[in-house]
């Protein structure tokens, strides 16, 4: 049975990926979470909860991106916008975040003999980050094929993005259908005790549950 790795932020999309990867392989995937200095540190605890739910090994990789910043999510001097989803690429974009996540994930997967990396990127109901789009994922598959021992030996580690073309309401319904513990997840970009309800991530999440016609089990 092939082993899988899931990039787990503790948010909605990555938690649904945990459910899908578990269903696909019939055993707990390795959950990989990045502590990159994000202001919404609550998601780290949520990721641990989701990994525990699936009885997965949970590897937390620390990489202090606040040393260079460049994002509202990692630089306290840049505010998270609260006016709903913006046009263009917002200030919450973290430079090269998913490149870093995928590169580390491919390294871990190769070292551990795993066959696939799952990442819950979505290019439909999203904040507009370029590193969530199909063109980027395809480019990274080229990296896996050319830059790794596994790749040049003809057996590249797969990068699986089952949610990339889904709407947020489809992701909600898919998660519920697979018994994903959505009540454990956290999406808000802010660092408070409760979701702010006003940042991009909160707005997209609320709309997704509303369009799916179900209550958000993580809302108090």
């Amino acid at each position: 049975m092939p082993g899988h790795l899931v990039v787990l932020s503790g948010g909605l999309d990555s938690t649904v990926c945990m459910a899908l990867a578990t269903a696909d392989s019939g055993r707990p995937p390795l959950a990989l979470t990045f502590d990159y200095g994000q202001r919404h540190r609550t998601e780290l605890d949520r990721a641990a909860g989701v990994a525990g739910h699936y009885r997965s090994e949970h590897l937390v990789v620390e990489l202090d991106t606040t040393a260079w910043g460049g994002s509202a999510l990692t630089d306290p001097s840049i505010d998270v916008p609260l006016g709903g989803t913006e046009g263009g690429i917002p200030v919450t974009y973290v430079p090269a975040r998913n490149s870093i996540f995928l590169a580390v994930s491919l390294g871990v997967a190769e070292a551990r003999g795993l066959d696939a990396v799952w990442i819950g990127v979505n290019a439909i109901d999203y904040s507009g980050y370029p590193d969530c789009r199909p063109q980027f994922i395809e480019a990274f598959r080229g990296v896996a094929a050319t830059g790794q021992k596994r790749g040049v030996e003809g057996n590249p580690i797969a990068i699986r993005t089952p949610l990339i073309e889904s709407t947020k309401s489809e992701i909600v319904l898919l998660g519920l259908a697979h018994g994903a513990p959505l009540q454990l997840t956290w999406s808000c970009y802010q660092g408070g005790d409760r979701p702010c309800g006003a940042c991009d991530a909160c707005v997209l999440r609320a709309r997704g549950f509303a369009e799916a016609g179900v209550d958000d089990p993580a809302m108090p």
Copy 2:
């Protein structure tokens, strides 16, 4: 004047890249060094020395890859081979190392408004690592073009590999011609006080200096 970033290990090739990037832009590049748990930790001090020589800002990024291992360079239970250069991809290969280095470098460069990332990969006199070859670099250029704000806005960060098709002796001579402080560099994969003289990196380095007809200024 565009600013540059150089991935600086403290070895011969990356130090020559520091010289070339400085000559190209007329000012000190940002030097980026990775403390990834390598057994040859001496190179971290050497990198600091080289960065100091160029009066560069020196950013050291910590990423503990020993948590997953998979390489003789990061796992104390795997010995570094001392029988000269092997065939195939050796056990000193670190899974996805240059993918991780380039992903972080692209993030730092974007956050800091720099225009190019220089990396001293070489696919001629090398250990056979796939992430030193032109195909891999080309794939990563695709990542920079598709996965970053700078890229999708039509101004991708360049990845420069001036040494990729050079022999080691050509690299030595290029470094000397540009006044690179080769006496400060460290290549050995082992963790001792002096180069072991027997690992891949030592053998390739010695052969390069011999073919260039010059003494290695870093040898006692």
